[in-house]
């Protein structure tokens, strides 16, 4: 079936089985590789993107539900050369190790900050539940607090 949506500000149409997970449409049809495959069962969060501003695990989100929606991936998180505060904070704290899961974490964090501009440690514990096998959690927590600071200063 034909499905149309906006991704990172651009209109896109794909002709695909509606049950196909959005993840594979993004990665293999639209060739945006920043959104990662980890488990295919919405259990790790590596594929987290934004659908109409909500954090969604795209490996378990059928593409047919994306019809008419606004989708943002890690590639669309920054505005041109201006990195999103979450990305800036990630760079300041030198968070990534292998880096594979990091886009998912950054997307989850960016979505949380829209709802909770000044997250407490408890907010972070409750909302950021992705998996990082390099276990960069210590720096991530610092980066999330820093991102909130940067975002609040910018706006």
């Amino acid at each position: 079936m034909k499905i149309s949506f906006n991704i990172n500000g651009e209109a896109q149409s794909v002709d695909v089985d509606g049950q196909t997970p959005l993840l594979w449409v993004i990665r293999d049809m639209l060739s945006l590789k920043g959104t990662k495959f980890g488990c295919g069962k919405a259990a790790c969060g590596a594929c987290t993107i934004h659908v109409n501003g909500e954090a969604v695990r795209s490996c378990s989100y059928a593409v047919k539900f994306a019809e008419g929606k606004e989708i943002t991936t890690i590639e669309g998180l920054s505005e041109g050369d201006n990195m999103h505060p979450v990305q800036q904070a990630w760079i300041e704290e030198i968070v990534p190790q292998c880096g594979y899961c990091q886009p998912g974490f950054m997307m989850a964090t960016a979505a949380m900050l829209e709802k909770i501009p000044n997250p407490t440690d408890e907010d972070i514990d409750n909302n950021i539940v992705n998996i990082c096998r390099c276990a960069t959690y210590y720096r991530m927590r610092k980066a999330i607090h820093r991102a909130a600071e940067l975002k609040n200063t910018n706006t």
Binding site: W24, K36, Q97, D125
Partner: protein
């Protein structure tokens, strides 16, 4: 370089390899009578020595390419899997090449470049084994550039100076990029003297990771991100059951599934090639077959097998008498410990993209064993190694999981069958059920305490399964020579040389499923057993556990001294006390792995009946920290991964099915479980850069257990730690 020079260098290398071969041959031939001594020497070396890098470090041109824009491209034979190797090597190269680090770009060396590491990326050895060769190559390359510049500018070498990749003299100047233009012949001079440590501009500085930006913008750098034009997707059938074979494959339903291009019925595997990942996977699930099972396996069978006393016994360390033979007054204590089967659970699954064309294979993938993967694929397709060009990509986590790479062969065979590039990778269920697990362990630690509170004897008896054995990294013939699995025994020897009688005995058990390298190998479980026991002995002796440890470590000017210094630095930094304060207590533990001592103190409380780790203070002596920030990052990562492994993770086995097969049910530490405070002290107790990536995984489990003991009086003897 000149022909003559190449040959000479080449010959030198061949001689060396041959010599090594003779050495192993002699050992295998069996110096049978002295084999126990031999073995123990090898095992002790394995605990403390950094093996030499196994590749060409005599030809800088294999490693460094200079672009016309005066950028240095470092073609790296070690892979980047998060450990920060690319950044550290860039720092080392920049130091001797006399260029700003921004001018250095690091890429994975494709095998076609000829720059191939004969071993693997692992064992915390990348920076350590290249510490000297990388700086020597960079310094040599600098001299080569200088010599060419002198020729081109017509100025004596002695009159030239270098600043940030620009060579100047006599009022003229040339960039490195200009120097290399048109040069095809390089003379490789003798290695010039290297910089003094006091003159370092980059080594020892917290330079940001050079892959930071790519990893923050989501650049397509990983094996999973590899693409080739017109590529297809593959999926293979893998056994859900251990100890089983599969037969009577019926692919008739799969053939009818949408998107299917071809069903592959190979002697090694059955799989599907389809137009998309989901179509390949969906079709593969329709393939029917029979399992042939000889024996039913449950976890209890494995636990029964992994027992001290079972399997092949090897004494890996022996000083003085066994505990039971030590005369004199004193109290004998014995504790038993266990650790479970652990999964790698790295987020990027194993996979490969391969394209077979005109008798040559091109592969893009993440692998820790570039050379082995290349050779395996070549063999499987009846090609010479040179017939396979492996282009390594960044790894979305390694941890030992990417030391086995059957996907590369599968993808290559599929590509040959369909005449197009095929990307073939495992799904998450396959990643879990067919992992090469961390083997379970069993330990009996025994010790004798004198009436004065001094340990007079200590022995560590332990059982485990394959780690290095049956891996592509170790020749099969070495197993009977060594007896003990060199991976499983990591951290298994007693480091307290001040205890007059100490020994370690290992029992190797064959398991009915694949086990192999898991970050830090045996270290995590072995240190848990020994350091929990030492803590218990300290309590029995009525001593502070830090002092108690120092009492039994020899200030020998070597590793004994380095361990002592790390222990003292950690205790000082944390303000260690063995008395609980409020609802919290500190637990102490230390270890030495691959020659890098590490100590950790965990500050723990019990909340709602569960263990909570609030803060960890670590001290590590890896010698020179090439990038102190990334060394700290490795320590932090090891601590949090160690918390995950020691408090949450375990695999179960029922009716030949290993499970869980998905994150979530396979419990792991998340953000909420990770300590909010981590402090790392770097004790640079040696004048070389030593191993970093695994040694900090040693102490954490025991440190947490020891804190729980102080808090509750209860001694935890099993991983994962549960109250």
């Amino acid at each position: 370089m000149t022909e003559k020079k190449t040959k000479k260098k080449g010959m030198r290398r061949r001689k060396f390899l041959k010599f090594s071969g003779v050495g192993i041959g002699l050992m295998i031939g069996g110096v049978h009578l002295t084999r126990h001594m031999w073995r123990r020497t090898i095992f002790e070396m394995a605990e403390t020595t950094v093996p030499a890098y196994m590749g060409d470090t005599k030809q800088p041109m294999l490693w460094f390419q200079v672009s016309p824009e005066n950028e240095i491209i470092l073609h790296c034979s070690k892979v980047e899997m998060g450990q920060g190797t690319f950044t550290g090597l860039a720092q080392m190269a920049a130091e001797e090449l006399e260029v700003d680090i921004d001018r250095i770009k690091v890429v994975h060396a494709a095998t076609d470049t000829g720059n191939i590491d004969g071993m693997s990326t692992g064992g915390s050895m990348s920076i350590a084994s290249l510490w000297k060769p990388m700086r020597e190559m960079a310094a040599t390359m600098r001299e080569m550039l200088k010599a060419k510049a002198a020729e081109k500018l017509g100025i004596a070498i002695s009159a030239l100076t270098i600043a940030n990749g620009v060579i100047s003299g006599g009022g003229k100047s040339m960039t490195y990029g200009e120097v290399v233009e048109g040069v095809t012949d390089w003379e490789v001079p003798d290695v010039p003297p290297l910089k003094d440590r006091k003159d370092y501009k980059y080594i020892g500085k917290p330079v940001p990771r050079i892959d930071l930006r790519d990893k923050v913008i989501g650049a397509p750098i990983f094996g999973m991100d590899a693409e080739m034009e017109d590529m297809l997707y593959g999926s293979v059938v893998r056994s859900r059951l251990i100890g089983a074979t599969m037969s009577n494959f019926d692919t008739s339903e799969a053939e009818k599934m949408p998107g299917v291009v071809k069903i592959i019925n190979d002697s090694d595997f059955v799989g599907v090639v389809a137009k998309s990942y989901t179509e390949a996977n969906n079709a593969r699930k329709k393939i029917k077959f029979d399992y042939n099972v000889d024996k039913t396996w449950n976890l209890s069978d494995i636990e029964e097998a992994i027992q001290v006393g079972n399997g092949n016994k090897t004494v890996i360390q022996k000083e003085g008498k066994a505990v039971k033979d030590v005369d004199g007054e004193g109290e004998v204590m014995e504790l038993e410990f266990k650790s479970p089967i652990g999964a790698h659970a790295q987020i990027e699954p194993n996979g490969a993209l391969a394209y077979y064309k005109d008798g040559k294979v091109t592969i893009k993938m993440s692998t820790q064993v570039i050379s082995i993967t290349q050779k395996e694929v070549a063999k499987a397709l009846g090609l010479k190694a040179e017939g396979v060009n492996l282009i390594p990509m960044y790894l979305g986590g390694g941890f030992g999981r990417k030391l086995h790479t059957p996907n590369a062969i599968q993808a290559a065979k599929m590509s040959k069958a369909v005449g197009k590039p095929v990307k073939c990778f495992f799904d998450r269920k396959q990643e879990f059920q067919n992992d090469t697990f961390r083997p379970p362990t069993h330990h009996i630690v025994r010790g004798k305490l004198s009436p004065e509170g001094k340990m007079v004897a200590l022995e560590h008896n332990f059982a485990s399964g394959d780690v290095a054995f049956n891996s592509a990294l170790l020749p099969g013939a070495i197993k009977p020579v060594l007896g003990a699995d060199v991976g499983a025994i990591r951290g298994g020897a007693i480091m307290y040389k001040g205890i007059e009688n100490h020994r370690a005995t290992y029992y190797h058990v064959d398991l009915p499923f694949a086990t192999s390298f898991w970050r830090s190998l045996g270290l995590l479980a072995n240190t848990f057993a020994i350091e929990s026991f030492i803590d218990e002995m300290a309590i029995k002796a009525g001593k502070n556990p830090v002092d108690f440890r120092l009492d039994h470590l020899v200030d020998d000017g070597a590793f004994g001294t380095r361990i002592r210094n790390v222990i003292k630095a950690c205790a000082d930094k944390a303000g260690y006390t063995d008395k609980p304060s409020g609802n919290k207590a500190m637990g102490f533990a230390a270890s030495i792995d691959a020659g890098s001592p590490c100590a950790q103190i965990a500050e723990v409380s019990i909340e709602n009946g569960r263990i909570k780790v609030h803060k960890v203070v670590a001290a590590l002596d890896c010698g020179i920290a090439v990038n102190p920030d990334q060394v700290r990052a490795q320590v932090e990562g090891c601590i949090c991964m160690g918390i995950s492994a020691s408090m949450f993770e375990k695999m179960d086995l029922k009716d030949n099915k290993l499970f869980p097969i998905i994150y979530g049910p396979y419990k792991m530490a998340l953000m909420k479980d990770s300590p909010k405070e981590i402090e790392t002290v770097l004790v640079e107790g040696a004048d070389f850069a030593g191993p970093v990536g695994e040694p900090p995984l040693g102490p954490i489990a025991a440190a947490i257990g020891n804190a729980v003991r102080r808090l509750t009086g209860k001694r935890l003897t099993e991983l994962p730690l549960e109250l």
